[in-house]
Amino acid sequence: MTDFTLTRVRYLGMAASIVMMLLSLGFIAAYGLQLSIDFTGGLLLDISIPTLAGASELNALLAPVLPSMSQLTETSSTGQWQLLLPAGQEMINPQLLISQINDQLISHGGIHLSDGATLLQSTAIGPQVGAALYEQGGLALLAASLSIMCYLAVRFEWRLSVAAMASLVHDAVITLGLLALLQVRIDLNVLAGLLAVIGYSLNDSIVIADRLRDVLKAKPNLGIHECTDMAVKATFSRTLITAGTTLFTIGCLLLLGGEALYGFAFTMFVGVLVGTWSSITIASTTQELLGLTPADYQPNQQLMDERP
């Protein structure tokens, strides 16, 4: 009596994956991707203001000096604020703004200030440059997917390659969906994270596919579902360990990497989590649905017979 529990779990997982993908597409459509000034152009100032005041209080206090259409937002690190000016607005002199902010804070002394506001970082990007970067980013994603597809087509049976690509699309869509839902700003670092996710997502699928190849060659009499279950089980501890170690190091970045790496670390974290999930629910089920059987991995019998 063969136990098909794992097969059932895998297909349930696949159904869940499809639901999550649809939801993610819904999130992207509903909320849209929040592009950073890397792609839209504009001016972004990172300012350190040692204050205990909340966002609304500080904005109200500084409203007279802040350029119109702009607001201070608090970042994940305490005391660090961001000011965003979209492209097309009148550009301002960052140094001048900082001294105005300081004057305003001091004249309204209600807030305790030890050092005053300081400019940590300013980024100004013209709209054309942003558009060019956007194109480059899309091109990078496309080139990465295409070159990986070529590599897979050469190295694996086509059904396994398609399965791996399906899980790649799944991972990218869900990651983007979550970025849209949580309104994480997509900057160049997030793009780097997405590309690393694409690489990592395949890593898992390939390890299972590799093992499946071994099983299919070794056990020609078993059904495909059993073979896949065996491959998944055999690689399960590795899958968990690697996901665990990678998630741990990315967690370190998320925790200690600071504001600058937040987008990257967040994208990677979600991507690795989803990638691990999809290697079991998408990559290893899609090839079954496409009709892969152990027969596809047997040495050609006729050719063998014809040998002298």
Binding site: D46, S48, P94, Q95, L119, L120, Q121, S122, T123, A124, I125, G126, Q128, V129, Q136, G137, L139, A140, A143, A144, S147, I148, Y151, L152, L188, N189, L191, A192, L195, A196, G199, Y200, N203, I206, V207, D210, R211, D214, A234, S237, R238, I241, T242, G244, T245, T246, L247, F248, T249, I250, C252, L253, L255, L256, G257, G258, A260, L261, F264, M268
Partner: protein, 604 residues
Amino acid sequence: MSHTQRKGINRPSINRLSKWKYGLFIVMFLALLMQAIPSFYGDIPALGIQVKQDKYLSPEAVTRLLDTTAVPAKELQFEAGEMLVTFDTIAHQQQAKALLDTQLAKDADITVQYYSAAPEWFKTLGADPVKLGLDLRGGVQMLLYVDLDAVYQRHTEATAQELKTLLRAERIRNVQVRQVSSVELAITGMLAPAEDRLSATLDTKRMQWQVRKSDNDWRLTLTESEQQTIAAAAMEQNIQTLRNRIGELGIVEASVIRQGRDHIRIELPGVHDPKQAKTVIGATASLAFHKADINGHLLMTDTRGNQVSLLKKPVITGEHIVDARSGTDEMGRPLVSIQLDGPGGSKMTDFSRDNVGQAMASVYTEYLLNEQGKLTPSDKIINLATIQSVLPNKFQITGLDSHQEANELALLLRSGALTAPVQIVEERAIGPTLGEQNIQAGISALALGMAGMALFLMVWYRRFGWVAIAGLGANLIMQLGLLVLLPGAVLTLPGIAGLVLTVGMAVDTNVLIFERIRDRLREGASLAVAIDFGYRSAFTTIFDANITTLLSALCLYGIGSGPLQGFATTLILGLLSSMVCGIWGTRLLINPIWGRDNRRAIKI
């Protein structure tokens, strides 16, 4: 027991690596270790003080100056006319720079430097600390857009002028020359009588202008190759001018590179006031021709060091120069041919007609920032020549010493006026504190990541875990060493993220191998056989899995720029070194310890 021992003797090839493999790995590891060590020492912020030629400045004076203003300097070295003052923090370095800039500007050039904290002998081996990107060092990065259209426009205008002059001289009426776009001209009207004359002239410009003829309407388009020549010259010249100007700012590691067709990227590490840099970049240079006259009031020294007096009013100024190219005359002597626009050409013709045999100087003026932060002109004569004949709007400067000189002169002449207008389209300024914060954040994430991995490996794989930890350590060192060795590679914040990420992913190589070994042990194989199987069977999997990540990293490198390339670089190097360390390095340790171990049913 005897059974297993026999097996061991029968298969002597198992778990043996040849001596040269050991040797090669050890040599490679040690070489990269040497490169990596200085990075652990880090570097010390410093200021270089280069005393100007005819000035004197004692180290004591500098020390006193720093002492009175309470900027804590760490140490002052003095060698071969250059002083090097080191500081504890970048903040102190910046304070001191601001101070010395105002106090010593007349006597010395102050440059921002970073001095390796590693023992001197590393430097003699060519090992320096890893170069830090702007996001870690702090500094200003700018992307300039070069308006090439304006340059084409000027060429087209000049040609239109030339044709008009020709028509006027030939007394051809009813023919109009007008500019259609920045790269296109139209000649319209009663063309029949002028056809021969126009064709002859246009034939000489075959390389530059493509002519499409129809009845009474000729269209001239700047050829693609000529556009490229003009663009390349304008870009090269802009970059050269910017390099020279930034050199004046005293930034040692500044880089000015062309990016794409019409952009220039400038990176100024250690500059924390973008305003100063912007002023210098926006500063203009100009060129003018002055008549040499004994009664002139403009006294200057020429390139050979002789005093020359010039008339104050220039014959023409550089804005009339459309093009300047170096070349050779029939005798093979170097020359620079200059093309002027219409008004400039007629002025020059008039002037030279009256002054054949007289000397004329080309004076190059650059507006530079002085110590008060104001733009001041600095003049110099770049060429002094005798007028041989009446000069048309295209003339040559001869009597140059070398082709090298001709090239430089052409470049300088072009820089007088041809400089394509630039516009700052992207500007990133990272404050020094944020840079240090970023380094701290990156290093602590790396340390925690490493510690977590080490703990996990020790608990999960026990004895083999130690080997894996050694492999991880070696991987990090080799990755860093490779980064130092790779020319042009810099460590950026995303680069550190790449380092941290590879720590997590490098463990995967070990996990794949060790899990296979465990499988085999569970099936009842001896440890030695299981090790051999584990390494062999995991190899293709490791290879396939890493290749895909490598591919996406390569795409990122090829298409991205700046910090993204930093991430891609560390990721690529990390994948390579993790494969070397994970597959090869750990085996070098495991083989001598457990390679002959024929125990069965043991746990790793």
